[in-house]
């Protein structure tokens, strides 16, 4: 064990690996922080580069770039209310509210600090618990995935600040959008209107970019410049994080655990981890009324959760070659190409390479703190820049990023369309984040439901028979009827007026 660890150190302490990690970290931070460019795209664009690198250096670039990009997706979310990834969409409103209150450094500091802690917790789980975690992953069939996705969808109402009815409406629009295309269980084109481009359906990323970034630019054009945030020195980023860690240590731990478990499940990943954790944080908070007004508690839990899921997402990839998310899918390709074939032999015969991967994860999460601080400081100039110069740059990023998705104009048109949809929804009080959640989860809900029914010959009993499915079903149904029970109980007690929690 000690010898493998020393071998692993020797593997990563070459100039090639160090330079590769360094360069990939900066690259990941920059791509992730540009609105319209995603962590997945950052990783995919690295693949041709990995051709020319040694195996360990190749993996190092993927590990470093993906960890950094997921974190730096929080930066435009907090500063401009334009989340960089679907994962940061869960709490972009909250972080932006903190910026408006003059607490941008606390929000972003929490992002970098709890992301790093989450990433390290996830890596430790990968090191110590990989085999048992992999067993969890393999015990999930489509029945379990259905309930999991169902629970994920229910987060829409918990997270939204607007009325639950409008949140559900927003989510249903998202579900409708996820019906577009041919990638459904029947393999039948739906809502494609004969357009080849629509066969592939609407990906969450262009929709996200449209409803957040483009809609934001449109709003900026139509509204007077908001009162500038008081000009002052950007305070210390890390100050106060230790206090938060002590105050919210339970939320942080819960976020880590949820992130690790959801990350291990192939197909779930960081997006769902962030949503579920943010919703849990609000549900179990002692002060839920503060959520949405610039309260850091949810950021702590969700930030800790989504980065924990990145590392644990590698467990099924490394053991079974089953990708936990799109980034892991790309990483598997690189692993095969470099002769580090996923499988249990990777853990025994190539143990030193495995430990090198663990070490790289830990190093990436540690250097995320200084790099992240520099990045936040640079990005904070955006707050001081006049809006008339920031908005065109955002538009340009959106156009370039959406073109780069498929190298055609369809992506650009999609982003523009969703910009209009997002603008109209926001103006009428419908939360766009709920719609993004609907698009992310819709395919999974449908796929899991239909394939489960095919497998059970149309019977719904297996949704409740399998032990894990039964537990998840009880949670989902419980969460669904809980508000009704509370309402009935209040009515029976003589109808105390409901608290005015609606904005």
């Amino acid at each position: 064990m000690l010898k493998t660890l020393i071998d692993a150190f020797a593997l990563i302490s070459t100039w090639e690996v160090i330079i590769a990690m360094f360069a990939a970290s900066i690259y990941g931070l920059v791509i992730g922080s540009l609105p319209g460019l995603s962590a997945t795209m950052a990783t995919a664009l690295l693949v041709p580069v990995t051709f020319y690198l040694s195996p360990i250096a190749a993996i190092a670039t993927i590990v470093a770039a993906s960890s950094m990009a997921i974190f730096s997706g929080d930066i435009p979310g907090a500063l401009l209310r334009i989340p960089g990834t679907p994962a940061s969409a869960a709490y972009a409103d909250e972080a932006y509210a903190m910026t408006r209150k003059g607490e941008a450094e606390l929000a972003l500091g929490a992002g970098v600090w709890f992301s790093a802690v989450g990433g390290i917790a996830g890596t430790l789980s990968l090191m110590i618990l990989a085999p048992p975690l992999a067993e969890i992953a393999l015990s999930f069939s489509t029945f379990e995935y259905f309930w999991l996705a169902f629970l994920g969808l229910m987060c829409a109402t918990l997270v939204a600040r607007s009325s639950p009815v409008k949140a559900i409406a927003g989510m249903f629009i998202g579900l409708l959008v996820s019906c577009i295309g041919i990638e459904n269980p029947g393999g039948v084109p739906r809502f494609t209107f004969g357009m080849t481009d629509l066969f592939g359906g609407i990906e969450p990323i262009p929709a996200l970019v449209g409803v957040f970034a483009v809609a934001q630019v449109m709003r900026a054009m139509l509204t007077p410049e908001p009162p500038p945030i008081p000009r002052r020195k950007f305070g210390s980023i890390m100050a106060g994080q230790w206090r938060l860690t002590k105050k919210y240590h339970w939320q942080m731990t819960r976020g880590n655990i949820i992130g690790i478990i959801i990350g291990v499940l192939p197909g779930a990943g960081a997006d769902m981890a962030a949503w579920v954790s943010y919703a849990m944080s609000k549900r179990f908070s002692k002060e839920p009324e503060k959520f949405g007004t610039g309260h850091v508690e949810g950021l702590v839990e969700a930030g800790a959760s989504n980065n924990a899921s990145i590392a644990s997402g590698w467990v099924p990839s490394l053991l079974f070659g089953i990708p936990g998310d799109t980034i892991a899918a790309i990483a598997i390709g690189v692993l095969y190409m470099k002769g580090l074939n996923p499988g249990p032999t990777l853990f025994t015969e190539k143990a030193s390479s495995m430990y090198a991967i663990y070490l790289m994860f830990i190093i990436a999460n540690i250097i995320m703190i200084p790099f992240g601080i520099v990045m936040i400081r640079l990005a904070s100039y955006v707050l001081r820049a006049p809006r008339s110069s920031v908005m065109p740059v955002i538009m340009l990023c959106c156009a370039v990023g959406s073109f780069a998705i498929g190298n055609n104009m369809f992506g650009v048109v999609t982003v523009a369309t969703f910009g209009i949809i997002g603008y109209v929804m926001e103006e009428n009080g419908y939360p766009v984040a709920a719609m993004v959640l609907g698009i992310v989860m819709g395919t999974m809900v449908e796929q899991a439901f239909v394939t489960s029914l095919i497998k059970s010959d149309g019977s719904i009993l297996p949704f409740f028979e399998r032990p894990i499915a039964a537990i998840l079903a009880a949670m989902a149904i419980g969460a669904l009827i809980w508000p009704v029970l509370v309402w009935v109980w209040r009515r029976l007690k003589g109808g105390a007026p409901a608290a005015a929690s609606v904005r």
Binding site: P48, F140, G181, F199, A329, I330, G343, G406, N408, T451
Partner: protein
Amino acid sequence: MSKKITRRAFAASSAAAAAVAGFGFKPALAQAYPARPVTVIVPWGAGGGTDATARIVAALLEKDLGQPFNVVNRTGGSGVVGHSAIATAQPDGYTIGMLTVEISMMHWQGLTELGPKSYTPLALMNEDPPGIQVSSGSPYKTVKELADAIKAAPAGKFKASGTGQGGIWHLALVGWMQAMGLAPNHVAWVPSNGAAPAMQDLAAGGLDLTTCSVPEARAIIEAGKARSLALMASARNPAFPDVPTLKEAMGIDYSTGAWRGIAGPKGLPADVASKLTAALKKVFDSKEFKDFMSNRGFGTVWGDATEFATFMDKGDAQMGVAMKAAGLSKA
């Protein structure tokens, strides 16, 4: 070292040629192809198996022909978008692309007008046959036992997966059922988002068998969670010498597979096409390509322009029969 010099010399001479052409002093001799960078269109996303194969082929072509071969991913439309981009490009040899098995399937489903005839085939580079996998807890030790159980069971009792509805591994199952004289839907198909989720569901106990390729199932098989009973191929895979072919195990001569090849738009000049095919043959025979493919577990199959065309026509007809039988065809 010598290689490097040749490449540099080649680049210099072609740059000079381009410069001359640019100034209007077109040499009397026809300019040697390729005189400028070539675009290689991949209809699937960056990071996947098709993308990786195209990139290694492009890198080796670049080495041989001395001009950049830029890989461009034109994704979307389940492959239709990229395949159309290859077919509708200028047939001047400066846009080529990687075709995948879907080109012989999509037109039967009525998704596009494009078929193998819409291209100038250049070379077949790869084919991966489907395997038949069961979970390690399954009672069936050989494909014969599994097949007997399937025959004895009522239609729809056994569930299989491996890809989406109407995907290549679905048609492999349909073809196998027909070869055994059973109804195409005797084993129910459970659509999945690719081979990896199907293998996971197999291990989770949600399925009876999968018909994806053995390399796709490899990691789970090595983890002891599943085993491969047979290959629907004409020969065994050297990487998995213990897995028999269907013919060896059951006497059924049925084989199919997912393939990848390079082609240009229809009407590519004959000299350009033959130059590219010759260069692709060199790529195919190179150690780099062989090593890369065996690392990924991908099978290598060579076919020159004519062989590739015949191969696609035969596959196209076979797909048509299977898709009509499975009720997936609109043609």
